[in-house]
Assembly symmetry: C2
Homo-oligomer: 205 residues x 2
């Protein structure tokens, strides 16, 4: 948790905070103090300032002093989901505990130039990447920095784009499937263009 002990909000603070989050989600920019004033049914900006200061002290928001509409919400980035614990997928026994952490998808999504590919086929099935999955990829700047075992999307001229494990042995490059039914592809360095390396897998059911 980024918020610690004494960070509980009063009702008024909480109401304001919730309203701000809604506003910023809808409009992609910060409201002005006078807008918040109206929304909270107040007739003076001072109470809003006070609540904002408290929200700032408790680590919920921040802003650039003196600048109009420059608020930022500290904690909640879009794409955050509470993790309610773990679940047995086997014989293990577990029960839901409280919320321990948040799953933050935006951490991956906000990387520069992330793109997605639809997976077509079953050659990566042993890596638990199935037909129809979406793979989120990050462009590869320096193909020399690729580590063995990384999953990459590689374009082999004349062969097309394929998702495989990357291995480098000797002067050769090997692209290996995660499925014994498929043979490794052996290539020389200039024969392949790496388009991206795997960041995450997304499957919607």
């Amino acid at each position: 948790m980024t918020t610690s002990e004494g960070d509980k909000l009063t009702d008024a603070q909480n109401e304001l905070y919730a309203w701000i989050k809604n506003y910023m989600r809808d409009f992609q920019h910060s409201p002005s103090i006078r807008q918040m004033m109206q929304a909270m049914g107040l007739k003076s900006p001072a109470p809003i300032q006070s609540r904002l200061k408290h929200l700032q002290d408790k680590g919920y928001i921040s802003w650039q002093e003196g600048k109009a509409r420059t608020m930022q919400i500290i904690d909640e980035i879009s794409g955050v989901v509470p993790i309610m614990g773990s679940v047995a997928a086997g014989g293990l026994i577990e029960t839901y505990s409280d919320v321990n952490e948040n799953l933050d998808l935006s951490e991956v999504l906000q990387k520069k130039d992330v793109f997605a590919l639809t997976v077509n086929g079953d050659s990566m099935i042993d890596a638990c990447i199935a037909h129809g999955d979406m793979v989120l990829m990050e462009p590869i700047k320096d193909s020399n920095s690729l580590r063995n075992g990384t999953i990459v999307s590689a374009m082999v001229p004349g062969l097309g784009t394929t998702l495989k494990y990357f291995f480098k042995r000797g002067g050769k490059i090997f692209l290996e499937a995660a499925n014994p039914a498929y043979e490794p592809i052996e290539l020389n360095f200039g024969d392949v263009i790496f388009q991206g390396k795997l960041l995450a897998v997304w499957r919607k059911v």
Copy 2:
């Protein structure tokens, strides 16, 4: 695409647009015209005004007239990633095409009460859900509406919480693993509390 034919941007417009998107991603609020002016290396706000007007005409941005820092980016919602095509995971041959679609994770995330669980174990491995994966779940309001074959997280009192395929046959409930090493669990209605059904799988590498 929401943008149509004559919506191509000039270099200057494109540079500004890219800068705005970055700024708004980083700061969660709109920049001011004078900030953009500086960022573009200009010494007068007029050119920025002109470019903004063009961006607005072409449907890329909007703002509230006269209000400070009220810009909105029209197209890009957070949690949206461009899909660059599909990739072969097998023998298929495919090449990257243009951007066809966007992958919108927020569609799932914005459902009410979505929560995540860490998968512990390998009993769902044949459904391509591996140890360490995060499963995004939706609370189940009405357990009668559950369809056979749905993946659910179920709490069996005395046994814990487990991720399994749900089946209903006769008056009985069966919870089946996606791994032949595990036996199905047979239960009566009432002996089990369903906590959620699977919406999506997320794996960060």
